[in-house]
Symmetry: C2
Subunit: 193 residues, 2 copies
């Protein structure tokens, strides 16, 4: 019992080895999801179209494409924002509160929260990517026309944001895998002869 | 060491207590995701519209709404199908191969696969639900008209399928939480005086 506690505190004492890798992964996940959130949240394009001509005077209409016109993009921003906050909190907890624990469930709680964040990012990015695909290609069966031919830079920035979020999802999958494997560690210590 | 092995084999010997709960949850997740897969995959509605009238003769066109016209619904079917297969395999492994192990990583591998399935279902169901929302309400900014007023039973069945998938996601979140907590067990055994 005493030995085990010793092992545990040693394991959690500072950022070394695999532990450092997870911290690095969290920082990169934060960068990816924060970039995705900001780029999408600021995504807006205003364009003026000529809708009619009276005599020689063109009548034009100004249309704006904004992310919050599409519910999927709103969810995308919320999901990536929440994932960023989650990883920031985990980073702070792992660096500044290595002893913080609740009934020995610290590592399990981290793994469960990580797992839920995987679900959250995956939901947000997949909702956005299929909406973006619709904007790019349209859907002739439903008579939904593509809009990316008109709002090209809106679509480019949206695409970049989605790619950043997919990278964040990849990091999050790795982080959660590490969090789960970390739970195994104490057993393998005991299995040593 | 010997004691620990004894504990482990006892823990894995048969479906008792919490173990039974996870098996029940897996069965219910299978039912939910399988229902979602089948209902969506068979979702099709053919409708005949009168497009013009020449004299007194109506000219009609027949339109069909099928799930595979929308990429998000195709991904939804694939994701729910894969989740069903995952849970079936896990169920078979847990019932018929309780000793199957790879370097003591059995429980960790199950938890990691469960976590990835959470991501998969979440991606599929969120992609589908935002596409369904578009079909139901349309998007005036992008000039995408709603189609659920024309294809009502297609939308009803799609909605039922999405609800089933969300239930499957809920079960999958619970299962993964249990899988992660299960990894903690050996430690708490050792912590007992």
């Amino acid at each position: 019992m005493a030995l085990e506690n010793g092992e545990k505190s040693e394991e959690r004492s500072g950022p070394t080895g695999k532990y450092k890798v997870v911290l690095m992964l969290r920082v990169m996940a934060i960068l990816a999801t924060a970039a995705a959130t900001i780029v999408m949240a600021l995504n807006k394009q205003t364009k003026t179209f000529v809708v009619a001509t009276i005599g020689t005077t063109p009548i034009s209409a100004t249309l704006a494409a904004k992310f919050h016109h599409t519910p999927a993009f709103v969810f995308f921003v919320v999901a990536n924002g929440m994932a960023t906050v989650h990883n920031l909190v985990m980073l702070v907890v792992e660096i500044f509160a290595p002893k913080l624990d609740y009934k020995g469930l610290r590592l399990a709680i981290i793994a469960i929260l990580d797992m839920m964040t995987v679900g959250l990012i995956s939901g947000g990015v997949n909702a956005a990517v299929f909406m973006a695909e619709l904007g790019k290609n349209g859907n002739s069966h439903a008579r939904w026309n593509k809009i990316c031919d008109k709002f090209d830079s809106f679509c480019d920035r949206g695409g970049a944001s989605i790619i950043a979020s997919f990278i964040g999802l990849l990091f999050m999958l790795l982080i959660t895998t590490f969090s789960i494997i970390k739970l195994l560690k104490p057993i393998s210590h005991h299995n040593l002869p």
